[in-house]
């Protein structure tokens, strides 16, 4: 079977599985996908062979040797299909920017994942809303995967073209508040999407004049990114309190998204709840040295498995720390990339 045929067949199976969990089995699809990636993604085969893992021997997805995020910064890990789009990481996680390439069929699979995920979480009430984006429009951030994904969501769930509150890298002056006030006057629910820190920045900017801005019923917010490395850090509880105070949004209308440029799928949580992996993904919280799963509630390193990563490695070793809670998980922070150090030099210190 040619690579193109094999890929098409796999994507067809995975697409069906995303739409209907009863149509297949995650582990079986993951093992098939491993076989494809073993043969068709450059650099992976010698790595898997060094681990003595081959398609013939693989029994469980959890035995797939994961690819660390830092490897994406050094190697182009793509199956060589006709590349339609390349996204880049922001560079907040260590030095350099990783890349993530997509062919037409990969983009379609990612879009399916994004929309299906949104349908069952962010828009589980099936309510369409207006959209205000606290992220730059895709034209200004063509290689940021979140901007792309949010545009897809707006395309499906927005009642009108989304309003972008950011232009030329900065918040617009008065227009964002005017837009939200019009939503209030029109009693039109609005979905606000942005980086976690973007919400705080926005509220810090406008709250002194406005006090609060109670959004119409049916409104919701989606934040992503967290506060790591930012000048102001908020706990999840603090963030939700801020949303309740300023937008008068109850926690159940506040969603958080955890995603990576290297991954086609994302993970949502609602209010104070933990994140639930969609059924075409798996998350294992593991002991960093053994990569064996830790006990429920214990902190470990997050390993992510995503069937929509067909042209790119499906098993990812992140540098995010987290805890598993039953079928869900939470992200607790990011590895610093360092260790306690006395007077012993680190090159990071002098570069």
């Amino acid at each position: 079977m040619s690579a193109t045929t094999a890929k098409k067949k796999l994507i067809d199976h995975i697409s069906l599985f995303i739409k209907d969990a009863s149509s297949g089995d995650f582990n079986s699809l993951a093992c098939q996908l491993f076989g494809y990636q073993f043969d068709h993604i450059p650099f992976l085969r010698p790595y898997f062979e060094k681990y003595r893992v081959s398609p013939a021997k693989l029994k469980s997805f959890s035995d797939i040797p994961p690819i660390g995020l830092n490897i994406f910064k050094r190697y182009e890990l793509f199956d060589g299909s006709n590349c339609k789009k390349t996204f880049r990481t922001s560079g907040t996680s260590g030095k350099g920017r990783g890349t993530s390439s997509f062919a037409e069929e990969d983009l379609a699979l990612m879009t399916l994942s994004i929309l299906e995920n949104a349908r069952t979480t962010l828009f589980s009430d099936q309510q369409k809303t207006r959209f205000m984006m606290l992220v730059p429009p895709p034209s200004e951030a063509p290689d940021i995967i979140m901007a792309h994904g949010m545009t897809e969501i707006a395309g499906k769930w927005a009642t009108e073209p989304p309003f972008y509150a950011i232009g030329n890298g900065a918040f617009l002056d008065k227009e964002p508040v005017a837009y939200l006030q019009k939503c209030i006057v029109d009693k039109a629910p609005v979905t606000i999407i942005g980086g976690s820190f973007g919400f705080v920045n926005f509220i810090d900017k406008v709250a002194p004049q406005l006090g609060t801005l109670p959004l119409p019923p049916g409104s919701r917010i989606l934040d992503a990114g967290g506060f790591k490395g930012k000048s102001k850090e908020l706990t999840r509880k603090g963030f939700l309190e801020l949303m309740a105070d300023f937008f008068h949004l109850a926690p159940e209308h506040c969603f958080n998204l955890y995603g990576l440029t290297e991954l086609g799928s994302q993970f949502y949580s609602r209010g104070h709840e933990e994140k639930k992996p969609p059924h075409w993904t798996r998350v294992r919280i593991c002991h960093p040295m053994t990569l064996q799963e830790v006990k429920d509630g214990a902190e470990g390193i997050a390993l992510l498995y995503d069937l929509t990563n067909v042209a790119r490695p499906m098993a990812i070793l992140t540098d995010d720390l987290g805890r598993r809670h039953g079928n869900g998980f939470e992200i607790t922070g990011r590895a610093s990339g360092s260790a306690p150090r006395g007077c012993s030099l680190s090159l990071e210190d002098i570069r």
């Binding site: 790595y47 830092n70 490897i71 960093p288 990569l291 360092s338 006395g342 012993s344």
Partner: protein, 464 residues
């Protein structure tokens, strides 16, 4: 059982304190104001200086030698200090115990006086005018009216060193303790006070967390000399607080290296012995000290291959886990190490000659080509094969300001030439593998005559 420890030592301090509990340790810490610091420096400049004037350097060295002796033996106090440092830093008790013993073992009365004589000609020049054979007359040295210091963390026991150096030149010292290890300094001065109570009046050891410009200024302002330990960025910030017209003795972060000639790999026994010594240098301070090696440059073509040596070091590091247990690894450090290992394993799969050795807490990367890359200090070495050790010099050149200890295993007839090149490059100590972790007090620390740096001189020249 709870252990109660003081995380500061400030003569006459009457201010507010609080307790921080870490594991079994209850640490008493002060809430300091700039006025508290000023009261402490006034005390040191008055009573502290007077007390120090009343001792000869021989007396002081004898007292500090006795304190060093105390810390080399088992005691209830030492056991509590070790437990508390372990609670705070995560270092294992055996590593802390061994670190203290090694540090204090280099600090006998004889060592202290020899180090001073190396630097100053004669230590007695701090007591009186002494005949100077190179001057037609006499010379006398004076220590600073007050020395201040910012001390390092994570190398257990090291905080005593600037205290000994300042007091030996009869300068009272005020220092900020490392916020995550404020235990050993106060415990050491207590051990000195148990031998000679008045000396407790000559030192103030302060504690606060993070940078605090107000407190730092109050500490630096009355001092004539400032000793700084810390990384590049920390020292830069502190230099700005100190201002331009004060003498600063800086011990920045440094790197240790190993250079192994092919003659060190002439047979299996020699390689095994070498690997054991290298592992000891890595494990002693859990690789957190600047004297610990991070990179090993090894000549190819020895009877034992560079890959075989790497495997032997891995075995030796594992064997040391019982005698020198590694620190408890946080999830953060573990995750950071997992990422390093993951990249190395991936790279090794792509490149012939590169290999990752990762077992238990030992991590060794046998590189394909020689390079200069530091490691996470978690018992982690990069082994770089080279055709000749002479090739290493070009690799090291861009990092001249950061080179410090180099352990060399070559035949004696090659040592002089390599030492010449390394010395010119800025390396301040050359030794054998296995001795990197125990620099003597006589070593010119970071290439500095540390006692000379502290003093000023008065000469009597009656004939010219």
């Amino acid at each position: 059982m709870k252990i109660h420890m003081d995380g500061f030592h400030i003569p006459g301090f009457q201010g507010e304190t609080y307790i921080r509990t870490i594991g079994s340790t209850q640490l008493l810490l002060p809430r300091l104001t700039a006025d508290d610091i000023t009261r402490a420096t006034d005390h040191l400049l008055g009573k502290g200086r007077e007390i120090l004037k009343s001792y000869s350097t021989d007396d002081l060295a004898e007292i500090f030698g006795m304190a060093a002796d105390f810390w080399q033996h088992k005691s209830g106090i030492k056991a509590e200090v070790i437990t508390a440092i372990s609670d705070l830093t995560g270092l294992s008790r055996l590593v802390i115990c061994e670190s203290i013993s090694v540090e204090q073992g280099n600090s006998s009365t004889r060592d202290i006086l020899a180090a001073m004589d190396r630097d100053l000609g004669s230590h007695q020049c701090l007591d009186t005018f002494c005949h100077d054979p190179h001057l037609n007359g006499k010379a006398r040295a004076y220590g600073p009216r007050l020395t201040s210091a910012v001390l390092t963390a994570n190398v257990p026991g090291l905080s005593y060193l600037p205290m000994v150096r300042a007091l030996m030149v009869k300068s009272p010292l005020i220092a900020k303790l490392a916020s995550n290890e404020p235990i050993f300094g106060p415990a050491w001065i207590k051990s000195v006070a148990a031998i000679e109570p008045p000396l407790a009046e000559c030192i103030a050891l302060c504690h606060w967390t993070g940078g605090n410009d107000t407190l730092q200024k109050a500490m630096f302002e009355p001092a004539e000399v400032v000793i700084l330990y810390g990384g590049e960025q920390t020292c830069k910030k502190l230099r700005n607080v100190i201002g331009p017209h004060k003498k600063i003795i800086e011990h920045g972060h440094k790197i240790g290296l190993l250079l192994i000639g092919q003659e060190g790999l002439s047979n299996a026994g020699a390689a095994q012995d070498l690997a054991t010594r290298i592992a000891l240098d890595v494990a002693m301070f859990d690789q957190r000290a600047c004297v610990a090696p991070q990179i090993v440059y090894v000549e190819k073509n020895g009877s034992i291959s560079t890959l075989e040596l790497t495997a032997l070091i891995e075995d030796a590091l594992i064997n040391l886990e019982e005698d020198l247990p590694p620190s408890l690894m946080s999830v953060d450090t573990g995750a950071s190490l997992a990422m390093e290992r993951n990249v190395a394993f991936f790279e090794a799969a792509q490149h012939e000659g590169m290999e990752l050795f990762a077992r238990s807490t030992a991590t060794l990367i046998h590189e394909k080509d020689a390079d200069f890359n530091t490691v996470l200090p978690t018992r982690f070495l990069r082994v770089c094969p080279v055709d000749s050790l002479d090739d290493v010099m070009d690799i090291l050149r861009p990092f001249k300001p950061y080179l410090q200890n180099v352990g060399i295993e070559v035949d004696p007839d090659r040592l002089a030439d390599l030492a010449e090149q390394l010395g010119a490059m800025g390396v301040s100590r050359i030794t054998r593998p296995g001795l990197m972790h125990r620099p003597s007090m006589r070593w010119k620390h970071d290439g500095l005559s540390t006692f000379s740096e502290l003093v000023r001189w008065t000469d009597i020249e009656l004939e010219v």
